[in-house]
Symmetry: C2
Subunit: 410 residues, 2 copies
């Protein structure tokens, strides 16, 4: 598990402010890892609303099933997350395990079990011994605090090499409203899902239905726009908790102009967390932004961008610092979306390498090779067919990915 820290890790972390109405603690329950925290317990004050987006997998984890069952009510008083075991594909044992987990958290916090949200991440297919939480939940409840957030982010890591946090503040009538989030994820990361695991906390007073309405579009341009390896997790979960402690009038309608401002800030936080996930992609050495323009629709642009971002040949070329635009042509061609080879234009950064279906007459191998040595690589593909555009974020595919995943269970 002890892989070197990603070269794309942030050099510094932001100071994350307290979010009124949220307190948490972490502990070592010994689920799988030794000498590190693996459980996060958060408590929310009464009145906290919740919205969430969960994996689209047909084989979801028991914790995802639990959250799906209880999200509708929109009320949250607690969150229990563990790393080391995904409690996925664990049959009846999994169902018993989530019930016990929720009961233990409920007893420790003195709140209803159905208002406890659960998430688990780690190995799939092995039973999760929730009894291990019994040894820590009561003790954790006794030392809940409003920080530090980095500890919360660390407790939920699996193959992650750095903790992922992001924060934003907006002001309404001079009153600051805080949105802070944490996320984990490094492999088994693909678009068209919710995310690996991400939890966002705000003191905004915002109705659960409004929160849910704002969340989905923000997910589409953040977690749903990243891919590490095209593999969609069984456990993807993004939950947003709003405690309502900020001293502003409640936001009860998506038509409220403040909802738009809040949604933008929420988008920023989710986007930053999603980028952190890519920058910690298993084995990543390059951060790659792929923008497709001129497609027949936004959806078509997105699918072509995904096809490029998920191509092992494109990703290994980038790892090899090779401006192999031919493989981008291949990935455009296989996407199954409208494309006209003879209108294609491809750029790496500001360098146009291909135009009108062939190599740019001004192509300069030396300048392009120099560009490919950068840590951040921007690829832009113009289709010349319409006005649909989309951006997808990914990383390269390296020996590190093979090493990490060739012996994950052992």
């Amino acid at each position: 598990m002890a892989h070197p820290v990603s070269p794309l890790a942030p050099k510094t972390y932001p100071d994350l402010p307290e979010v009124a109405g949220v307190r948490f603690a972490t502990a070592e329950a010994g689920i799988k890892y030794k000498n590190r925290t693996d459980v996060l317990l958060a408590a929310f004050d009464e009145g906290t609303t919740v919205a969430g987006v969960l994996t689209t997998s047909k084989c979801p984890s028991a914790a995802v099933d639990w959250c799906r069952q209880h999200l509708g009510a929109g009320k949250a008083r607690g969150l229990l997350v563990n790393s080391g075991n995904a409690n996925a594909f664990t049959g009846k044992k999994g169902v018993e395990s989530v019930a016990l987990s929720a009961r233990l958290a409920s007893e420790a916090l003195g709140v209803p079990a159905e208002e406890i949200f659960l998430a688990s991440t780690g190995v799939i297919g092995e039973p999760l011994d929730a009894q291990k939480f019994a040894g820590v939940t009561g003790e954790m409840a006794g030392r809940l605090a409003s920080g530090p957030w980095l500890n919360a982010a660390k407790a939920i890591m699996t193959t992650d090499t750095f903790p992922k946090v992001a924060t934003a503040t907006v002001e309404f009538d001079g009153v600051p409203v805080t949105i802070s989030g944490i996320a984990k994820g490094s492999g088994m990361i693909a678009p068209d899902m919710a995310t690996m695991l991400s939890f966002v906390f705000t003191d905004a007073p915002i109705a659960a239905g409004v929160l849910q309405a704002l969340l989905q579009p923000a997910i589409d341009t953040s977690f749903n726009a990243v891919t590490v390896d095209s593999d969609t997790s069984t456990s993807d979960t993004c939950l947003v908790f709003a405690t309502g402690k900020a001293a502003i009038a409640p936001i009860t309608s998506a038509m409220d102009p403040r909802a738009t401002v809040f949604a933008e800030a929420l988008s920023d936080v989710l986007h930053e967390l999603a980028i952190h996930v890519v920058r910690d992609g298993e084995g990543a050495t390059k951060m790659v932004t792929i923008t497709v323009e001129g497609a027949t629709s936004e959806r078509s642009a997105f699918r072509i961008a995904q096809s490029i971002a998920n191509s092992p040949l494109v990703k290994t070329a980038i790892a090899g610092q090779d401006a192999n635009w031919g493989r981008i042509v291949m990935a455009v061609g296989k996407a199954g979306e409208p494309a006209d080879r003879d209108r294609l234009e491809i750029s790496f950064g500001d360098i146009r390498v291909a135009t009108q279906g062939e190599r740019d007459p001004a192509y300069d191998e030396k300048a392009t090779s120099a560009y490919m040595k950068n840590e951040d690589i921007d690829i832009r593909v113009g289709l010349g067919l319409g006005s649909g555009s989309a951006t997808v974020y990914t990383c390269d595919l390296t020996h590190g990915y093979i090493t990490i995943n060739g012996d994950y269970r052992s």
Copy 2:
């Protein structure tokens, strides 16, 4: 380019019989490689029919465009194939290059240019200098011969580590009819295509329309059922040439009972060639057969099998000899096809590892680990929903793949 020979390479090659009406030669045109053959020129006697299946890529190579244009007539007198350059995404230069290639072969063989079929494989996006063929086609035409087939298979290799050949013979009224084929392919290999490059030759007298009708279903269970890396090539081409030299009455209808016998033999040859391509998958150390049963339809079973076969996490686990059924659950779940987690059954070889949505109560880690050390791994997934089944063939994902593709252009 000099990668070690795949550990999955065949230990021996079959003796490939002559196919009456087919003669060929290979040469060094110096397209890209040094000290190896890179051009194959084949001549077909008058009366040869042809059928073909070409890439579904929206960015096909110039040679694919050429074949698509001329396949309709169903007549072939020659075939010119080069390795080292794919002549794909080469714009107007590419079009000029195929025209020149066809003209050079046509002049050398003394046959119409529109009855010359072309294929190119290698780097995408760099112009192909067809003038280099001028130095060899005339000389090759002077030494055409009916063997040895291994030389033909070698001349079309790129990252392949071994030549790929297969043969079958059927008898009609005591007269033997031969079907022999060659193929190349190792990376950029994905289902839902034609194939990388494959050429099959038979002396059967068979109408082009019948040949075409027999070819597509044979492709579906051979080249379309293999995947190395989920990347579909711009150049996939499978052509079958029938010289009609076997002394039997012509097969002019797909209803002819002999067409069924011929189709089975053709399927066998294509299947064997397709398996060779997987066994030479870039960096492969394991041959993996994935069978999905109990799906709601055959198409659904195929898509789920593809999802498993293309999952980098499943493929790296197999490389690590890890019976990580959890990743198979993940791949079933992300496929977007009907599946019920709680009915899933998964076996590695004869060992059932999971049943009814959880680990098999009789699961034996030791026996399973021992099985995973085999070179050939069979994975069987039961969905328990219907009667749809499908099989997909793939290989593992190793450091070798990264090494090969991180510096392909250089």
